[in-house]
Amino acid sequence: MRYWSLLFLVTAVLVVAAFGVGAFDPSWWLPENVSLHGPLHIGAEVDHLFILILVITGLVFIGTQAALVWTLWRYPREFQPKATYQHGSQRLEVVWTIIPAAILVFIALYQLGAWTDIKFRSAQPKVPPIAEVTARQFQWLIRYPGPDGRIGTPDDLHTINDLHFVKNEPTVIHLKTRDVLHSFFLPAMRIKQDAVPGLTIPVWFDADRAGTYDLVCAELCGWGHYKMRGVVTVHETRRDFEEWASRALEEQNRSQLATIGGTVATASAATADAGGN
């Protein structure tokens, strides 16, 4: 039954075709990439490597499947009643050891540079961190320096699930967690880093387009893991960012005062109540 080969052929064709659907529907492809032209352009390096590996593995896939399908088409028992008595071929073994080895070593060395650029401490941009991001079940607590420019002082700006930074600026955050493991994942900037209890890990990234993007928790962190969503806002200019920050700080101070006032009011009301009784 040589027609068995067709099952494997059709499967291989469909598998390759699945990568083509991305041309018509962007959700069948890598997500939007906003780290292409910025100073760090991490996203550009990641996508370039992804596509390079996709092409190499795609060619290997097509080659092996073609050989398999052709073999199944050509050598069923009806067409080959007697198998060739053959135990192997040293020459072939050498060929198909050295060629894949060379390809794998090439991929390994080729991508080493990107990895050092992206994650080695030596590559960390020499800029003060824009914020400290502390993950907790199931929120991102984000703390920006206040007017004194330092994180950890009483004038800090606190937000929840709301990370802001500036277009085309290398941006560093300090990543921490307050409870379990979480993972800071910016799909649009191709950045992922686990938040580890007990460690403060610097993470850097950039964006070349203003807008809002998803911040994903990528490490299972409990029942609410699925809804641990943050939003990243990329501002067009530094001034936009600072305007937002000062507005947010004002808002924060006002609402804090209001809260204190509210508590006082409630407390005095309660006292009055007690006195009435």
Binding site: H87, L104, T116, S183, L199
Partner: protein, 637 residues
């Protein structure tokens, strides 16, 4: 030989029962391989009779064949459970928060949500799906069921080296089974920290409901399963080294035995690390040690600061075992597939020695790649670069194996039987699983796809398209030897076609959806704006429909298995006309396997030998003189 020799000169042997004599006689009549006397076989007279008591014969048996079948049945039962858990996972992903058929009705009272699955229940589903499939299905089926059943038969031994230890290794699985099942009904329910059980989520009772009690039972259960595997692996190593039949040199062993041997070595070296990690987590959870809690760690509502440990330590210990475990789950399937492909190509295995060295290479490299699970974990990125290199290199032996399988098929005389189809399916699908691994070996690319569905797609191409297809090939291939009856070929082929199609339908799009950034272990992706798109909805629903059909297709093999068990046509001694030793004895083999320990004359793959009338030449028959030269110098072929 006469049945008298069964009685043995050994004084301490119980009298031979009538049943054994009958069995032995049947074996010698059906055998036809006793025609090459003339070599010493003094040791093979050491034969105990089969126990006549039902309890010691079928339940607390020390017979490796019965133990293998016990592993097979319990593994297949847990396969059903693991599969149902997976279907519930898929249902939630396709139609989040909708009523799950049957499950919602059963759980209505427990959930109190009007049939909507609570998110922590979803976390339990994928945690237990992976745990059951890995520790109770794939490992026990490949090493427990087929390892036990095949090793002594394929090397020409009467039983394992330590039959009682072997029995113990099966019965140590039962506490594991019971504890794991019990964890579903304790307060807080089953573990839900993923099968990787990363602290601190797994450590602290407040972290998630499954960490209340379920996690403790999970750890205890895996301790038992680990001890069971350890006992098995010691037994396999000893048996293969010490009990091979005369003439069965190491480089004459079938690939299945080679693969099981190297798998046993992997288990023996990797399991102690898992065991200590499990004990450490258990101590952290129960008596207040702090192996995995960092210095001065204080969480709201907890007593004062605790700690002094390191969270990432668990990941190192866990993956030091669990990466080799991935190879524990694939190497035996590779061995099985090599044997099946050679048999049904009627052609010697292409590159037997390179195949053996490739397995050994995978096993060796398998110990130095664990860090590739941890590129984004906060581990020093320089260390990541080292693991990247070793991970790239481990793709090489897998590639060599694939080329050799195709080389075996090439110019063979291919018989498309059901086991052969599953073996070819393995080759075809393992290529996808192997190649997708290269993406995550590349550290920068891994940064994007780590913890996404790309990884889930990859592991399922290796563990379903690979290991499970290998298991199906093995079931169809050795069923006649195990039970003395044939399975239905037509149903087998229908089962293969449907499984192959729906398997790809279920798992291939995971790569696409994963490269788009769809995280794994997430009760619904649609909280995120970049995933709440029609294309993502379509893919999730498509995969779920295929998964349901894939599950339904397995009813065919259940039916075929059960019916064939009782009513299948009787199998002859060697229905596939194969060379290896298990086919040189009756189907099913008598209690002590071989009436007379066979003598082995050549490697397992002498098919279509010129000058031999049939297209196969059992290992018990010498090669014709003309072809001797070619066998001695195989590499020049």
């Amino acid at each position: 030989m006469s049945t008298n020799s069964l009685g043995s000169a050994d004084g301490n042997i119980e009298p031979v029962s009538e049943a054994t004599r009958a069995e032995a006689r049947a074996a010698s009549e059906g055998g036809g391989h006793g025609d090459h006397g003339g070599h010493g076989h003094g040791h093979d007279d050491h034969v105990h009779p089969a126990p006549s008591n039902f309890l010691t014969r079928y339940i607390f048996s020390t017979d490796h064949k019965i133990i293998g079948i016990q592993f097979l049945f319990s593994g297949l039962l847990f396969f059903i459970l693991g599969g149902l858990l997976a279907l519930a996972v898929r249902w939630q992903l396709a139609w989040p928060w909708s009523r799950v058929p049957i499950l919602s009705t059963i759980m209505e009272g427990e959930w109190k949500t009007g049939g909507q699955m609570p998110p922590e229940f979803y976390n339990k589903l994928f945690t237990m799906h992976a745990t059951v499939m890995i520790f109770f299905v794939i490992i026990p089926l490949l090493t427990g069921a087929f390892g036990n059943f095949l090793i002594p038969l394929m090397i020409g031994a009467r039983d394992m080296a330590f039959p009682k230890l072997n029995m113990l290794s099966y019965w140590f699985m039962w506490p594991a089974f019971i504890l794991m099942l019990q964890s579903f009904v304790v307060e807080g329910g089953a573990a839900e920290a993923g099968w990787t059980s990363y602290p601190l989520l797994a450590l602290f009772r407040w972290a998630t409901p499954g960490s209340l009690n379920g996690q403790t039972l999970w750890l205890m259960s895996l301790l038992f399963a680990g001890v069971s595997s350890m006992m098995g692996s010691i037994n396999y190593i000893t048996t293969i080294l010490m009990l091979r039949a005369p003439g069965m040199k190491l480089f004459r062993m079938p690939m299945t035995v080679w693969a099981l041997f190297i798998t046993a070595l992997l288990q023996a070296f990797a399991l102690p690390v898992l065991t200590s990690a499990l004990v450490m987590q258990l101590l952290d959870r129960t008596v207040g040690t702090n192996f995995f809690t960092p210095v001065a760690w204080s969480v709201a509502n907890q007593p004062g600061p605790v700690g002094g440990g390191q969270t990432i330590l668990w990941q190192h210990l866990f993956w030091f075992y669990s990466h080799p475990a991935v190879y524990i789950m694939i190497l035996p399937a590779m061995g099985i597939v090599s044997d099946v492909i050679s048999t049904f190509s009627r052609k010697p295995l292409f590159g037997y020695k390179p195949m053996v060295f490739a397995i050994a290479g995978i096993a060796f490299l398998g110990f130095i790649v664990w860090g590739h699970h941890m590129f984004q974990s906060g581990m020093n990125p320089a260390l990541g670069a080292t693991f990247m290199l070793s991970t790239m290199m481990i793709a090489l032996p897998s590639a060599i194996k694939t080329f050799n399988w195709i080389g075996t098929l090439w110019s063979g005389s291919i018989h498309f039987t059901t086991p052969m189809l599953f073996a070819i399916g393995f080759v075809s699908m393992f290529v996808i699983g192997g190649l997708s691994g290269i993406f995550m070996a590349a550290t920068p690319v891994d940064m994007h796809i780590h913890d996404t569905y790309f990884i889930v797609g990859h592991i399922h191409y290796v563990l379903f398209g690979g290991s499970t297809f290998g298991i199906f090939a093995a079931i169809y291939y050795w069923f006649p030897k195990m039970f003395g009856r044939m399975m239905d070929e037509r149903l087998g082929k229908i089962h293969f076609v449907l499984t192959f199609i729906f398997f790809n339908g279920t798992f291939f799009l995971m790569h696409i959806i994963g490269m788009h950034g769809h995280p794994r272990r997430i009760a619904t992706p649609y909280e995120y704006e970049f995933l709440n798109r029609p294309g993502i909805h379509f893919m999730n629903e498509f995969m779920t429909v295929n998964a349901l059909l894939l599950g339904a297709s397995q009813l065919i093999v259940v039916y075929n298995f059960v019916v064939s068990l009782f009513a299948g046509p009787r199998a002859s001694e060697n229905p596939w006309r194969a060379n290896t030793l298990e086919w040189a004895t009756a189907s099913p083999p008598p209690h002590y396997n071989f009436l007379k320990i066979p003598t082995v004359y050549h490697a397992a793959y002498e098919y279509s030998v010129p000058g031999v009338e049939e297209d196969y030449l059992p290992q018990t028959r010498p090669l014709p003189p003309a072809s001797q030269q070619m066998v001695l110098e195989p590499a020049r072929g």
